[in-house]
């Protein structure tokens, strides 16, 4: 940035690129879930067709890059949920999202609840491995809470 003539263009460009990346991520998720390229293309275009996306995309607002980072973390966690390295990468992306704007917490909460519902608390990076933590995670992953967690994961990934 030139202090003598500051410009909006840098962060506007970042926001535009993040909006397009989020569109690609929407298409990728739709393709993964349906196996159809047509569904993937439609999902990507539906994201770009939202009026709020059209309004916020070419501005220097922080919403689009934050959402892109959080959504990327969600996709990595979804794709590589059986790998500790994959979950670590997802956590890194979500932390970067949090350091950009402290708002989009739906993706981390969704991944956390999804892993808890599948009784994969041992794969969560950085959690204490104590018996008490194990017991709390096991109690949180009963059948009813598993259903709630899966539902929350689906809803949050659709409404982020």
């Amino acid at each position: 940035m030139n202090p003598e003539s500051p410009s909006y263009s840098t962060l506007r460009t970042v926001s535009v690129l993040a909006t397009l990346a989020t569109s690609a991520a929407c298409g990728l998720l739709a393709f993964w879930l349906s196996g159809s390229w047509l569904a993937g293309a439609t999902g990507a275009l539906i994201w770009l067709g939202f009026p709020v996306v059209g309004a916020f995309g070419p501005t220097d607002r922080s919403d689009m890059p934050t959402l892109a980072l959080a959504f990327a973390g969600l996709l990595v966690a979804y794709r590589y949920r059986r790998s500790r390295v994959g979950l670590g990468m997802a956590a890194l992306l979500m932390v970067l999202s949090f350091f950009y704007k402290q708002q989009f917490v739906a993706a981390p909460v969704a991944v956390l609840l999804s892993l808890a519902s599948e009784k994969k608390w041992r794969q969560l990076p950085g959690l204490p491995r104590s018996p008490a933590a194990a017991a709390s995670w096991r109690s949180a992953s009963s059948s009813s809470s598993s259903f709630v967690a899966r539902t929350f994961c689906c809803i949050s990934s659709l409404t982020m």
Binding site: M1, P3, R12, R61, S62
Partner: protein, 101 residues
């Protein structure tokens, strides 16, 4: 030799092989409608990105001032005083990226 009756499974297979494939119009129509809305949204983006003034969506100017302050070495996350105040409600990565690190 008596004629054998086809089983239900055989009937379904026969219908499936003889039926004409239907043209799936709805998915392509959905793609077209979504594409139209996306094109409508994206059409104004180049002009808005290149516009040198503050955009129509609020607070662009306030963020830019905070980034200029950060570039000048002002502690933008410090508590406000009578001399200076920066709102700085966003994370540090945003300001660092805006100032070019």
């Amino acid at each position: 030799m008596p004629e054998t009756q086809p089983t239900p499974g055989q009937t379904r297979i026969a219908h499936a092989t003889t039926a004409k494939p239907k043209t799936q119009i709805a998915p392509f129509l959905s793609l077209l409608i979504a594409g139209l809305f996306a094109a409508w949204n994206l059409s104004g983006w180049p002009a808005r990105v290149c516009y040198s003034g503050e955009g129509g969506v609020m607070t662009e100017g306030a963020r830019l001032v905070e980034m200029v302050h950060l570039r000048d070495g002002v502690p933008i996350y410090a508590p406000g005083s009578a001399e200076r105040f920066d709102a700085s409600i966003l994370g540090p990565l945003y300001y660092l990226l805006g100032t070019g690190w």
